[in-house]
Symmetry: C2
Subunit: 206 residues, 2 copies
C-alpha cells in the first residue's frame, strides 16, 4: 500500500501462544512493506535461536553502554536479563516510510506510547480464553512445564492491560484475525506525527 | 462486514465543501451497514431541505425540553439556533450493532468524545488547502458570498483542531479518500466499549 505519510508504529502485545506470528504471516501480503522490529537482549540464545533473526544477542556491558547513550526506544530488565528495542533501526525504517511492527509486552507498549504516541497504534492479540491459551501452549510441546506456568501467570496479569490498547484481536480463527489485523495495520499507516500535522496546517493556510 | 462487536461511532468533521458526503457515498458499498446520524435543529429549513433527511426541524420549546430531559448526546447554540444529536436513535443503532456516522463540528466531536470515548473513532476531512476549499465553495454556486466568507472563517479556526482527531483525510482525489475512509470505518467497527472489554476479561479468565 502506498501512502503519502511517513512511517508509523504498530505495537502488538499478548501472551506467547496467542498466534501473533501466524497472524502477521497470514496478513503480510496485504499490509504492504513493513519492518518487524527485532529486540536486543543480554540473555543467552536458546537452541535454534539466531542472532539478528530472533534477537540481537549482546553482552551486558554493551547493553548498559547503549542505555547510557540513550540508544533504546524502550528496555526492561526481566529475571536479570535486559531486553530492549534499539532506536536506530526503528528511526531508519520510519524515515523510509515503513510500518514498524513491534512484538513487545505491556510495559514496552507503555514506553513506546510515552515516546512516540502520535504515530503509534496498538493491538492486544489473545486466544479466546485462558483455557485455550493453556491448551495451545501444551500442544506445542516446546516448553517445559515451568515455562508454561510462567507464561500463563504473565498472561493473567497482562490481560488486565487490554484497555490500554487501541484494538483487541481475539484470535479464534486465523482467517478472521488476519482480516482484522490487515484493517489495524492499514489504519496504523494513516497516523500522522504531530510534526507532519503542524506542517500540514501551515501549508494548508497558505 | 460482519462483526462480533456491538456498534461503534465514527465522527467526521471538516469544512463544508470538504467532500464528506461524496466520500461516504463512494465508500458506502464497502463499509457495511451504518446509520448516518441526522441532527436536530431549531433553525428554519432552507429551500430544498427535508425534515428527517437533512435535519429534524423542531421548535425552540421542544429542543429546550429535550435538553432538560437529557435527550441530547451533544448540542450547541450557534447564532441563536440550536443544533444537536438526539441520543435515542444513536442508542438504537448502536444496540443493533451498527456503525453510527456523525457529521458534526469540532465542538460536537469533543462532546461525543467526552461521553462515548471508548467506542468513538474520528476523522477530520479537508480539501488539500484553504485556497482549494474556497475554489470548491465558489464553484458550487449555491451559497451567498457572506455564507462562503463565514465558512472559510470557520474552516480556518477548525483546522487547528486537527490533532484531536484519530485520522486526517486530505481529500485530493475521491478515489484515494474513499479508500482511506473504508480503512477508517472498518477500524472504527473494531472498537470495543469498556463494558465489553471488562466482560471479555472476566470470561477470558474463566
Amino acid at each position: 500500500m502506498q501512502s503519502r505519510h511517513k512511517g508509523a508504529i504498530l505495537v502488538l502485545s499478548g501472551p506467547s501462544g496467542a498466534g501473533k506470528s501466524t497472524i502477521i504471516n497470514a496478513a503480510s501480503s496485504e499490509i504492504g512493506e513493513y519492518y518487524f522490529s527485532i529486540s536486543t537482549t543480554t540473555r543467552a540464545p536458546r537452541v535454534g535461536e539466531q542472532n539478528g533473526v530472533d534477537y540481537f544477542f549482546v553482552t551486558k556491558e554493551s547493553f548498559e553502554e547503549d542505555i547510557k547513550a540513550g540508544n533504546f526506544l524502550e528496555y526492561a530488565e526481566v529475571h536479570g536479563n535486559y531486553y530492549g528495542t534499539s532506536l536506530k533501526p526503528v528511526r531508519e525504517a520510519l524515515n523510509e516510510g515503513k510500518l514498524v511492527i513491534f512484538d513487545i509486552d505491556v510495559q514496552g507498549h507503555r514506553l513506546v506510547r510515552a515516546k512516540m504516541n502520535d504515530i503509534t497504534t496498538s493491538a492486544f492479540i489473545t486466544p479466546p480464553t485462558l483455557k485455550e491459551l493453556e491448551q495451545r501452549l501444551r500442544a506445542r510441546r516446546t516448553d517445559d512445564e515451568s515455562v508454561i506456568v510462567n507464561r500463563i501467570e504473565n498472561a493473567k496479569n497482562e490481560i488486565n492491560a487490554l484497555g490500554e490498547y487501541d484494538f483487541t484481536i481475539i484470535n479464534d480463527t486465523v482467517e478472521v484475525s488476519a482480516r482484522e489485523f490487515v484493517i489495524v495495520a492499514k489504519a496504523a499507516r494513516l497516523k500522522q506525527s504531530k510534526e507532519e500535522e503542524e506542517k500540514f496546517i501551515q501549508t494548508w493556510l497558505g
